[in-house]
Each structure stands twice: as C-alpha cells, then as structure tokens.
C-alpha cells in the first residue's frame, strides 16, 4: 500500500504547538495521521468516500489516501461491522464509520456478540483492534431515529471501550488512542460539536483513554458532564460564577474504563454533585456515576443528595421547542446547581 505524501507530512510527531480547528477537522486529522503511519489503518463506511461522510468528517481524505483505504460501502451496517471485525482479527485496524449512532442498532450483533467478546471467548488468542465512530445526540431536528444518546448500551457490554470526546483536541487525541488500542473502541462523537472549534495539538498526539479532564475547578460543587453537556456545563459555570457559585467541571471523556479516582477526588473537595447527561435518565451513564460515588468513601463528604440532570425518558421529538425541552440546557444546569448550593 502506498501512502500519499500529503498524508505522510501531517504525520509529523507532536510538536507541542496547537492550531485552531473544528472538532470535525480534528477527527479527520487523527485519521489522516493514523493512516499515514500505519498502512493497516483504513476507514470503511457509507458515503465516506467522494461524498465525504454524512457529516463531512472524512471530507477529502479519499483524494489523499485513495478509495482502497477510504472505502465506500453499501448501506449494510451489520455487514460493515462484521467486515470490520474480520479485518481487525486478521491484521488490519479498521475505523468503521456509522452515519448516526442510532444505526448501531442494525449492527448490534457484530458489536455486542462478536467484536466485544471474541478476545475473551477465544481465550485471548485474537484481538479485535477496531474503532467504531458514530455521531450521537440531539439538536439537529432529525427526530427520534437520528438523535439518540446511546452510550449506556455500549458501556453495558464488557469487552468494549467507550469514549465521548467533548472538545476538538480530545476528538483527535482520544481517536488516536482508540486506534492504538488493541480492543474495540466505540467513539461517540456529537453532531452539534462537529462545527465547533478549539485549540488542537498538532502532530501525532494522544489523549489517554481512561483519564478524565477537569476543565474548571471551583469549591462549591462538582458538575460531571459528558459529550455536548460538557460545554453546556462550562457555560453554566461561567453564569454561576457571576452569581458567586464556583463550580468544578469534570468530563470523564472515557466512559469505559472510567476514571473514578478523579471523580471521587473532586466530589470530596466540593461535597456537592450535579450529574449531567443528554441521554435519557433511566439507567443512564450518570446512574452508574451516582452509584460509584454512593458506594465510595466520598459519600461521607456529601453535603447534599446527588442530583442528576438528564434527558426526559422519551424519544427525541422533531419540533425545535420540544427537542430543546427534552434534554438539559445551560439554564437547567444553572438552576439545578444554584438549587443544590443554596439549599444545602
């Protein structure tokens, strides 16, 4: 396999510098770097080639890398996922793009019963180093079958790792770590974040899996949020600060394996916890975080009951007002945090 020079050039080692790019460009940059470095890495999915991906994430990569490794498929999620598993078991490192995380439902046998379990079932004889990239989340008016936040499904399957990048830099760093990882890794990107920009480290950088980020520290409460709710939590924290409430914001980044240490440390420091997820409330990821805190010695530090803010237990509706009302917004976070701090 030959590698185009443009791709090879961007595979330069980490420089310590940063550049402003969108979340979507950061994902593409990670894939370009990984493909330049390792001919075993390839992308496969619906319309990832000339079309550039349903959300434009692969963009013009096909022109740089060629159609062999930026591989268009038929509309066959189960088949694509199975092909990814087979390729991963036999020396390749596929990045499978699913157009909307909702369509992992089509591919679920290959994800849950094959990819996640093969290493274990075969007594460790074979690895499945596959990355699944899929955009999740609401906010685009695409309604119930294109807007779900399904991370809990995947966290519930031993054998899978699950990451949810909330910033452009993490979108790149976590994806590169996921590609390195010898396990199947589910990367749940967020469609509302694709066009957001941030400072991204240049070159072949990493954000380690299993390490939480603490983008803001404050003494009054700890807000733990995932995905698009991280930026909403940070925006809320600004508003709260103006009102004299200092919030710590924790972004777990990797949901499995989870960095419980950082969570517990920050909870002990503030004694108040607000958990924020876009996904529906019942048995959501934050239910687990709540349980972890309750079972730990951080429990003794709590000055207030643990509070969850989550999506309503409903399918995401189409109408803009209804869609907005379905998941936590900045003002909901501000209100819940204020309530926690003022009441307790």
């Amino acid at each position: 396999m030959t590698i185009e020079t443009t791709a090879a050039q961007t595979a330069a080692p980490a420089t310590g510098e940063t550049v402003t790019m969108t979340y979507s460009e950061a994902v593409r940059d990670a894939m370009r770097i990984a493909m330049a470095k390792d001919p075993a890495v390839f992308i496969m999915g619906e319309d990832v080639g000339t079309y550039g991906g349903a959300f434009g994430v692969t963009g013009e990569l096909i022109n740089e890398i060629g159609p062999d490794r930026v591989r268009d498929t038929t509309i066959s999620e189960l088949g694509i996922m199975g092909a990814g598993v087979g390729a991963a078991m036999t020396g390749m490192r596929p990045i499978v793009e699913i157009q909307f995380s909702d369509f992992t439902a089509q591919a679920m046998d290959q994800i849950a019963n094959q990819a996640a379990k093969i290493h274990f079932m075969l007594g460790g004889a074979v690895n499945v180093p596959m990355v699944i990239r899929a955009p999740g989340g609401s906010g685009t008016g695409a309604a119930a079958q294109h807007s779900q936040s399904l991370e809990a499904w995947f966290v519930h399957i031993p054998g899978l790792k699950v990451v949810m990048p909330a910033t452009a830099d993490d979108a790149k760093g976590l994806l590169l770590s996921a590609i390195d990882d010898p396990n199947p890794v589910m990367v749940i990107e967020h469609k509302l974040l694709y066009k957001t920009s941030g400072e991204v480290r240049t070159g072949d950088i990493r954000t380690p899996l299993g390490v939480a980020a603490v983008p803001r520290e404050g003494k009054d409460l700890t807000i733990i949020a995932t995905g698009v709710e991280v930026s909403r939590a940070l925006e809320a924290a600004e508003i709260l600060a103006a009102d004299g409430i200092e919030a710590t914001v924790v972004d777990p980044r990797t949901l499995k394996p989870l960095d419980s240490d950082t969570i517990l440390r920050t909870v002990k420091a503030t004694g108040r916890v607000l958990l924020v997820q876009e996904a529906v409330r019942t048995l959501g990821f934050m239910s687990e975080v709540s349980a972890i805190i309750s079972e730990s010695d951080a429990f003794g530090y709590l000055r207030a009951p643990i509070k969850r803010l989550a999506g309503l237990d409903i399918p995401i509706p189409y109408a803009p007002k209804l869609e907005r009302a379905s998941v936590p917004q900045v003002e909901d976070i501000v209100a819940a945090a204020t309530d926690l701090v003022r009441k307790w």
Binding site: F55, D72, T140, A143, A319
Partner: protein
C-alpha cells in the same frame, strides 16, 4: 388489459394532480427550509413523482404502504392531506404527528400509510408484517413496501422478503431505483443488470419498469396487487427513476455529473404524462392547466393554514411515550 390512465379523463386528472401536489409540496418545503423557516432535514423526491402516483392508483384506501425517509410522495399519493403534512413539517400541533415526527416519520394511518422511516429498509419487514396480519385476519388487504435501491443492501430487506416469500404474503416490494443510495450508485453496489434479477433468488416474481411513466408503474403494481389479493404471494418491482435534488441538504453532488442530472431532468414525468394524456385524448390543454392551477391554489392555502396553526407544545411531552 389494464385501464389506460391517460385516456381516462378522471384517472388522468387525478394522476396529474397527485404528481403536481408532490412537486409543489416539495418545492414549498425546499423554499421554507432554504429561508430558515423549516427545521430538521429534508429528503426530496422531485423527479420521482410517477412512482407513488402510479403505484397508489392500483391500491385501495385500506391497503397499506410503508414508506421511507423520502416519503412525501408516498404520503400524498396514498391520500394524505397536504395541510396536515405541512403542519407537521412546520412543527405544529395540528401536524400528523403533533410535531413529534417531522418529515422523516410522517404517517397517515387513516389512508393506510404506516409511516415514513428514518431507518433505511426499516419499513420492509413492517410491510411483511402488515401483509401477514391481513392474511391472518382474512381481509383482502395488500401491503406495498416502498423502498430505495440502497435499502437492498440491508439485512432487514433480505429478512423481510424471505418471510414474505415463505408465507406467500400479499405484499409488493416496490424499489424506487433512483440510481443512488446517497452517493453509492446502485449499478456499482449491486452486481446485477437489473435489481429485479434478485427476485428469482427469493422465489418471487420480479419486474423492472420505467419509473417515470405512471402507466408502466400502475400496470406492474396492478398485476402484483391482483396476484397478491388472489393469494399468489409477493412481487418485487424495480421502478427506475431519478432524484433531481441532492440526497439531503448535506449533499454537494460530488458523485454525479451535471450532465447526468440534466439528462434526467429531460425525462420529467409530469410533461411526459401531460403529452401522453393530450395524445390519448384523456385531457385537453385546458384540463391540464386547470389541474396545475388548482393544485397551486390548494398548496398555497395549505401552507397558509399550516403556518397559522399553533406550534407543537412541550406541555405534554411525556404524554405519548406510552399508550394509555
């Protein structure tokens, strides 16, 4: 021999009106969306109007259809009201789904439309199930599964057809082959001269027709529906057509040429039908003009009334999650 639609004044006028309704409805939607007055995503079937028009003409009101993400045409052809459709797309309480569904989940069960579907091939096994139900209940209803060429890459397509063939169900699998599933050309995707060649492998009859010709679609559907009602089992129909617009708003048309699009615009099903109707004596030029003008007026008032309706309200957002 089937009814010659173009020679029959009533049927010709109705068919032409259906095609114009689909065209005008979608042009209005495109305009509203472009001006930021409509939200969400859009899949337009402009250029493909003859398929649902011809197919639904062969159906009774209580026959079922399952539709797709590109479903405005199916919905209109099966008899839905444009005002309530428009209200749904405008996120109004008076819409078919009270603003919960939008374009991609629009349905009108009163006219047998079991719903558009955001999942490619999602409606295929559902049509099989509707046909199973019709058979078990001893009705003479038939189900038509509208689906795209791209849907034939899905496992759901295979499984839906296998069950229908095994049980010899009254269902028609109607593939609108508009030559692409998003950017993937059906010619490249499927190693077949025509998609109907696949039917043989499932043990059911298959036929390919000109999907821009209302009569051809009607004839094929009528034959399949008659067979299904008589207990003769499922049929696969490939109707070859073309979508003029991009797949959705994210489409930059990088995978096809301007020449190809222009070539197919030259095969516009509406003037084609008008010319046939004039030649066959079914419609006069005055009839044709009247149909077009009436649809325009009807659509305009549908948009106005839909716009004036109350917005969908979040007050009882939890109400329809579970049936009571």
């Amino acid at each position: 021999m089937n009814t010659q639609i173009v020679a029959n004044r009533e049927l010709a006028a109705a068919s032409l009106a259906t095609m114009w309704k689909i065209r005008r409805f979608e042009e209005a939607v495109e305009d509203l969306y472009g001006r930021g007055l409509m939200h969400g995503t859009m899949h337009l079937s402009i250029g493909q109007e003859a398929v649902p028009t011809g197919a639904c003409l062969a159906l009774n009101k209580d026959d079922y259809i399952t539709s797709t993400h590109r479903g405005h045409g199916h919905c209109i052809a099966k008899g839905a009201d444009m005002e309530r459709m428009m209200a749904e797309l405008l996120a109004k309480e008076t819409g078919y789904c009270r603003g919960r569904g939008g374009s991609m989940h629009i349905a009108d069960t009163a006219t047998g439309n079991l719903g558009a579907n955001g999942i490619v091939a999602g409606g295929v096994p559902i049509a099989t199930g509707a046909a199973l139900s019709a058979k078990m209940r001893g009705t003479k209803q038939v189900a038509v599964s509208f689906h795209g060429d791209g849907a034939m890459g899905e496992g759901a397509w295979h499984e839906g057809v296998v069950l229908a063939a095994m049980w010899q169900l009254p269902v028609v699998f109607l593939c609108e082959n508009n030559l692409y599933g998003m950017s993937m050309s059906s010619e490249k995707a499927f190693n077949l001269d025509q998609l109907s060649d696949r039917a043989k492998g499932y043990g059911i009859p298959g036929v390919t027709v000109d999907g821009n010709d209302v009569q051809a679609v009607y004839d094929a559907t009528k034959e399949a529906v008659d067979r299904a009602r008589a207990g003769g089992g499922p049929t696969f129909i490939e109707a070859k057509t073309y979508r003029w617009r991009g797949h959705s708003k994210s489409d930059k048309n990088l995978y096809r040429t301007r020449d190809e699009i222009d070539e197919w615009r030259g095969k516009d099903p509406i003037p084609l039908f008008e010319a046939q109707a004039l030649a066959a004596g079914g419609l006069t030029q005055a009839d044709i003009d009247a149909v077009r003008d009436n649809v325009r007026t009807e659509l305009r008032s549908a948009v106005q009334r839909a716009n004036a309706a109350p917005d969908a309200t979040a007050d009882d957002l939890l109400s329809a999650v579970y049936a009571r």
